[in-house]
Amino acid sequence: MGEPLLSARDLATRLFTDSGTVQAVDGVSLNVGHGEAVALVGESGCGKSMTALSLMRLVRPPGRIVSGEVIFEGRNLLSLSDREMRAVRGGRLAMVFQDPMTFLNPLMRVGEQIVEAVLLHQYLERGKARMAALEALERVGIAAAGNVIDYFPHQLSGGMRQRVLIAMAISSKPALLIADEPTTALDVTIQAQIMRLLAELRRELSTSMLLITHDLGLVAEYCDRVYVMYAGKIVEEGDVCSIFARPRHPYTRALLRSTLSPDKRVEMLESIEGQPPNLITPPSGCRFHPRCVEKLSRCSVEPPPDFAIAPGARARCWLYEEAGCAAAP
């Protein structure tokens, strides 16, 4: 497999608010290899969106990346100058967001917004850039791209707007596409279309993908590997098959127990007890312990490190102390 395309080590981002410091991303390490589709899964508020923003260095005050490194194509993004980072963003490293209505500038034509992206990363003159934008629109499956290119966002449907956002992101053929809940704001039928589009684009352009989502169904269908996140930390890592067949971390297990699948009846659903933790004053020891049904006495005292259980499978849980060697947490 060689060097991963993206490798984040001990990434930590904090929000400095009036009520206290929120440890939104607390020592997250993850990799995305070439051509891979990796999922980052978790409940709302667990820090997955903040992780994505941190990878792109889009964190704004009162948030700040406080430590760690993000190696992308051999360079540490966190040590680049603003100008260098801007050359990377939208070019080799692109992002697609959740709600296409609010993420598009309502006063700018759709084509203009794509052309802007193209001009920033490719040395083309205006006419050629417009053609590149047209091509991008066609590639994301918009018929009559020649008309749509001059539309304003409010003239398009939700699904089309999301395609526009995707077109913007892939216009410069990125090596890695980060998709933050790209289908959450869309109708169920459109969701499937968009996900298939993303899969197709990945194949065509050999782009890797980091999919941020809370929808396990999407993960099962479209991703190769999974990171499970809880309260600002990665609690489990593994490939898609083993995560679903043999979930290791109690949180992952609880998550799977609470979601529907064809062979489960509704009565078998269990919700996870308790509330997501307060990230200003997180629980002592393992952050999941107040809601964990398998906890040991040790869990409330010491935070567990990341244990390697099998190649490519890790879990941050005291249950696996003997099973694997502890890696750096």
């Binding site: 929000l15 608010t17 009036d18 009520s19 206290g20 929120v22 939104a24 508020g45 820090g47 969106s49 903040m50 948030g63 509330q275 997501p276 933790p277 307060n278 990230l279 200003i280």
Partner: protein, 284 residues
Amino acid sequence: MAATHVPAEPTWWRIFSRNRGSVVGALILGALFALAVLAPIFLRFEPSRINVGPSMSPPSLTHPMGTDELGRDVFSRATAGLRVSLTVGFGAATVSTLLGVLVGGLAGFFGRGTDAVLMRLTEVFQVIPRFFLAVLLVAFFGASILNILATIAVLSWPEIARLVRGEFLSLRSRQFVDAARVAGASRMSLIFVEILPNALGPVVVNATLMVGQAMLLEAGLSYLGLGDPTKASLGQMLQEAQQIMRSAWWTTAFPGLLIFLCVLSLNLVGDGLTDILNPRSRER
């Protein structure tokens, strides 16, 4: 990413006092009120008596704000004018608020016919320049304190009515109103007990700012010569000062300063009230 604990609801005083500007504003306003109310007790000179001192003399111990060309004590006249300004300002704001709340509430609650009429009315008032209509009304009906107050009130209430109506419209479809209705509350009770208290927040803020606007309007009218000739008014003093201010800067500086401080303090207080009464703007 967000914390899930909820901080305790701060009391209104706490919020208000956090905004230092509002506290300063409130203090200034209080001082001005005190000045206006108590001054007659301590005054040595009558506001309209001429030749109580040398004509056009600068501020001194006997005449803290100097004298004008007719030898009148500026301080006495200014405090009298301050009384007029405060009366007109608060009076007009109160009347127009009451009127506006009444009409706006009814329109917002009953909707349909009353609402359509009200909206037309407020639109008209929005387009027609208020100041010039005020000039016209006062010129035609005579310049007395009452007329001026009434004119300002009549020109201001549509704005409040519109605001109240908006609040009523958004509030009347909220669940707590349905709950009260289901529990058997009468229509009047729904209006006055359930909805109105919640709608009052922005109204109070608006009313505070309106006092300042009314004062500026009154001062402007007096400056142009449409003030009540029987009473000293700050705007009128500025008009009189126009000719003599070259040699007597105090005849314009002090009266104008009083108007300025009134409006400034009201705006400061209004800003502070916004923080309390408009929870949406509280996030900083």
